[in-house]
């Protein structure tokens, strides 16, 4: 069974690409495969020009200094038996980034950089709220001074008010450190705040990719259009007409032969070709869309 198939994208230095999709779309698998935390069966990840698959374990560890990950669940991603300071210092120690006697100072500095008190270093994870833990996870990733961070749903487990705080932190760090992000999320409104480009995944393939302005503002693929319309409108006076998709995505083990979205598609031009021939990404408007029927301007008609 394949969880993810034929997914290609590039991220420039300092750029944020958002990977959007629902649970089961394979977006997290892609994020982990990029860091080789999961081994892809085929495909290539090139980071700063080097193919990661060709690296020896030692060289891979070195490469990981430059690329980091922030996880979704702030309760599972910190070792409950180690202090905050020990967790943040981990990367510094592994790579010998600063002399042993300066580690404490550097940890304090990192904690302050993510908006926490330096005195938290001696405490344990259970003493902190979800938002604070997520900041700790970010400090741990920053310790090795990466240029690229995979953010795997970094705020979706948090309250809306805390989401904004953590998102702002990620935005500030991007400005200050020139970071590139692969921002994995299911909430398009959130993605709109941070992404330069957006890739929408459905059942393990990218169905639409392009500049954030184009993908969110004028979505072309029927699935993207449904996603955009499902974003809650926080204004009761503007009753928004939603495209409510029928049913659930089919199981990845029983994929349709043609377009993976064909079972839920509502596009009026849907025809026999959609269930027999798999669509590939092709330019539609400013973005690339994997749909036989999509035409520029479709999106404007849906929202």
């Amino acid at each position: 069974m394949r969880a993810v198939e034929d997914v290609s994208f590039a991220i420039a230095a300092g750029e944020t690409l958002a990977l959007v999709g629902e649970s089961g779309s394979g977006k997290s698998t892609v994020g982990r495969a990029v860091l080789r935390l999961e081994e892809p069966t085929a495909g290539r990840v090139r980071f700063e020009g080097t193919d990661l698959a060709t690296l020896t374990p030692r060289a891979l560890r070195e490469a990981r200094r430059r690329m980091q990950i922030v996880f979704q669940d702030p309760f599972a991603s910190l070792n409950p038996r180690r202090t905050i300071g020990a967790s943040v210092a981990e990367g510094l120690e592994i790579h010998g980034i600063v002399p042993r006697e300066e580690i404490g100072d550097r940890v304090s500095h990192l904690l302050e950089e993510v908006g926490l008190d330096a005195s938290f270093a001696s405490r344990y994870p259970h003493e902190f709220s979800g938002g604070q833990r997520q900041r700790i996870g970010i400090a741990r990733a920053l310790a090795v001074a990466p240029t690229f961070i995979v953010c795997d749903e970094p705020v979706s487990a948090l309250d809306v008010s805390v989401q904004a705080q953590v998102l702002n932190l990620l935005l500030d760090l991007r400005t200050q450190r020139g970071l590139a992000y692969l921002f994995i999320a299911h909430d398009l409104a959130l993605v709109h705040q941070i992404a330069d480009r957006v890739a929408v995944m459905y059942l393990g393939t990218i169905v639409e990719i392009g500049p954030a302005r184009a993908v969110i503002g004028a979505p072309s693929h029927p699935y993207t259009r449904a996603l955009v319309s499902a974003v809650p409108e926080p204004d009761p006076t503007k009753a928004k007409t939603r495209i409510v998709l029928e049913g659930d995505p089919p199981s990845p083990s029983a994929l349709p032969i043609g377009c993976p979205f064909v079972t839920r598609c509502f596009h009026p031009a849907k025809d026999a070709r959609c269930s027999t021939e798999r669509p590939h990404l092709r330019p539609v408007g400013d973005q690339q869309v994997a749909c036989h029927c999509a035409a520029p301007g479709d999106g404007a008609a849906s929202t």
Binding site: R61, R64, M67, I69, N79, E90
Partner: protein, 268 residues
């Protein structure tokens, strides 16, 4: 702290006192005082717990037996925990052939009854010194520990914070040592404490069967064995080591439960 925990700690303190101070203040446990009139004396001021059929002071023997019984149990459990930890960690952390092989070993170790192995081993060796006895006891106790640690290791290996450490570039050995072992230790500690009670009963059982500490050394199981024939006329000879055994195993069990409540609040 619950009442049970306090009770367990109190028992432990008493037994430790008995084992450490007892032999210093009591008379020679092997001195035969008066083989004509001094045998099987009931408890009195001169002999707090009476005397046995060789007119030896039962309190002295109980105190020196505490050293042997408790010592053997603790050493045996330490050996079992160490072997179990190494094998369990290796089985849980390795992949492919080695992992399968170790798992098979653990399963076989668990399937063969420990008492049978011990009976065969000890009768083959013949008279065993106490340290060897403890080692043999420990060497047959590791499979249960190993299974526990393997399970914990497997669970923790897929924890997100382990993935985070891997993403930071931590080598596997460091991950095992710094991330996994600290998480796997608490259940081991609990199992080890409970295991002390087990080991003590095994030691007593084997000594009772004549396979334990060789006479005249006084282990609690050995004392039970010697007093069996005169139980009807001198019940204190059975009661003293018997109650001591009950006290020691209760202490271990109570403290093990207390540790479990403390270290694994989520486990039922």
């Amino acid at each position: 702290m619950t009442t049970q925990t306090k009770f367990g700690l109190g028992l432990l303190a008493l037994l430790t006192l008995l084992a450490v101070v007892g032999p210093l203040v009591a008379a020679d446990p092997n001195a035969q005082r008066d083989l004509l009139n001094g045998t099987l004396q009931p408890p009195s001021l001169a002999h707090l717990l009476g005397t046995d059929e060789f007119s030896r002071d039962v309190f002295s023997r109980l105190a020196s037996g505490a050293r042997i019984s408790l010592g053997v149990a603790v050493v045996a459990v330490a050996v079992a925990a160490f072997l179990g930890m190494v094998i369990g960690l290796a089985a849980g952390a390795s992949d492919g052939g080695l992992s399968g092989l170790l798992r098979r070993c653990i399963d076989i170790g668990l399937a063969v009854p420990r008492i049978v192995v011990l009976l065969v081993l000890l009768s083959a060796i013949g008279t065993v010194p106490m340290w060897l006895f403890a080692l043999v006891l420990g060497a047959t106790g590791w499979p249960a520990m190993a299974r526990l640690i393997r399970g914990e290791t497997l669970r923790l290996r897929h924890a997100q914070f382990v993935a985070a450490a891997r993403a930071l570039g931590a080598p596997e050995v460091r991950i095992l040592w710094r991330e996994i072992l600290p998480g796997a230790l608490p259940p081991v500690l609990v199992a080890a404490t409970l295991g002390v009670a087990d080991a003590m009963l095994l030691e007593a059982g084997l000594s009772f069967l004549g396979l334990g500490a060789p006479p005249p050394a006084a282990s609690w199981g050995g004392m039970l064995l010697e007093s069996r024939s005169v139980m009807a006329v001198a019940p204190w000879l059975v009661l003293a080591p018997g109650l001591a055994l009950v006290a020691a195993t209760s202490a271990a069990t109570l403290l093990g439960d207390a540790l479990r409540r403390r270290l694994q609040p989520d486990a039922k």
